[in-house]
Subunit: 328 residues, 2 copies
Amino acid sequence: MAVYTEVTDEALVAHLRQYTLGELHSFKGIAEGVENSNYLLTTDTGNYILTLYEKRVDARDLPFFLGLMEHLHAKGIVCPQPVKMQSGEMIGELAGRPAAIITFLEGYSVRRPQPSHCHELGGALARFHIAGEGFSIRRKNALDMDGWRPLFEMSQARADEVTPGLSEMIAKELDYLESNWPAELPSGVIHADLFTDNVFFLKDRLSGIIDFYFACNDLLAYDLAICLNAWCFEPNLSFNTTKARAMLQGYTAVRGLSESEFERLPVLARGSALRFLLTRLYDWLNVPPGALVTPKNPGEYIARLKFHQGIDNAALYGLDREMAGLKA
Amino acid sequence: MAVYTEVTDEALVAHLRQYTLGELHSFKGIAEGVENSNYLLTTDTGNYILTLYEKRVDARDLPFFLGLMEHLHAKGIVCPQPVKMQSGEMIGELAGRPAAIITFLEGYSVRRPQPSHCHELGGALARFHIAGEGFSIRRKNALDMDGWRPLFEMSQARADEVTPGLSEMIAKELDYLESNWPAELPSGVIHADLFTDNVFFLKDRLSGIIDFYFACNDLLAYDLAICLNAWCFEPNLSFNTTKARAMLQGYTAVRGLSESEFERLPVLARGSALRFLLTRLYDWLNVPPGALVTPKNPGEYIARLKFHQGIDNAALYGLDREMAGLKA
């Protein structure tokens, strides 16, 4: 939500000479994303986002992230497109950071999505999953089940500062998930962070998806479970089945779920809730000096996890097999 | 340099119904200004800046600030123009804050101004001073000489934490300025904060002036002295007489200086250096919890003040009477 690295006009103008975007008209640091520094640029040829990758992003992953945007865009997914330098490269260096310029996407994120937004999101997610097929670079999910236990160990000793008993709750959940994780489900490229901030709408139609910096190869239905967590809980943390049904209908109208994917949604939702609980817990306990971002309270994801622990059947989310295109 | 108040899409869309700007296309928080929250909006009719006024701005001053932009714009000064609501009002309320929408200005600020930029700036400042004539609202400078001593008293006990002897240096300087301040010089509307961040250029021509939230009625030549401090020192804090001469030539080509204004430039420059030293000192010693802005080091203004203390004649800035349009 802030700019970490300042870019001077001189450095930017020199940097732009590597592109064919014409003269710079304006540039402003924007409060978007928590990982990187972003600037909105206007040049002779239009609006762009300049991103400087800060240390939380591994520069070795940039060919995956930027290549994925290019691949998806070519497949008709509305997402930012990396702008190439005259050399053909997509990644340059500015102010001592790896830097890329991507096209500007119209639209804005919806703070309180309605069922119609969830329906749109479901369809877009399924198109994203299909479009990801054939993308040649692979990236392991750094925050998949293998990553949860080491992440937990970094917070374990202090987890009860957030809520008494949290450490034990997470330890048990990890044991459960390690024994029950459905690794055999269909996999492919997932977005892995499709929160409402990363989806733009215009006049209630989904106008694009942004922020691919957690994208990776993992179970497709896990991405859907992330969205159930991110889009279908109300501010009071009650689960809105109308939204969940709308999302699933939107998704399955484009990509059908297998029997196993449908049946394993509850455990995938538990895993997704734990994944965000663990990162929020770590960030909550480890606010760096000079942080420009207020950490998000992990409590919201404790509540989500507890909710999913009580669900052993996707029907309890209000989802039914017929709606998912499966035999009754 | 950050957004203090979050605006939701729902609240913004509802707010925009009071205007005739059409549908919202996008909005992004921008890292501009240290006092307020700013968003860049795009609507059917173009680009705008939405400002939410945070508590450091007194809402009673808004009619002055916004009225001044409107007045200056009508007089041909390139600056943002407040957009009126259908009711004719310029100030609304959004997210519990007074809020205004102003037009978007092309161009970007120059981190390291060259003499040509200083010449442009001088001319724009003189046009600003002339255009301010006839503006009917008045605003006392809250940070004029009357405000310096109370401000100093809030930091006096801890000033030596910054540099030993600083407290005594400031006390003596205040005594000197209170005895020597040239209150009889021509006065009018001044910008009072025309640092490089607040001046936009396009292809090395000045394209506009922004951020009128320190504007007030005060001595016109004091505004020029502020610019000498803000634009004519090198990063190593040496004074660049070529830049000062260029600025003065730009200024006097539009508005001639009186004998007294020219002669009193050194004391005005001391006062200006002290004013920014005092606010930076206060901010340095009083970083609020959760601050999103790193305070600027007051040391730079100690060096400027010391420099001006050694100047008793504007000629020592490299300025000469003839250049200023005065008799030799």
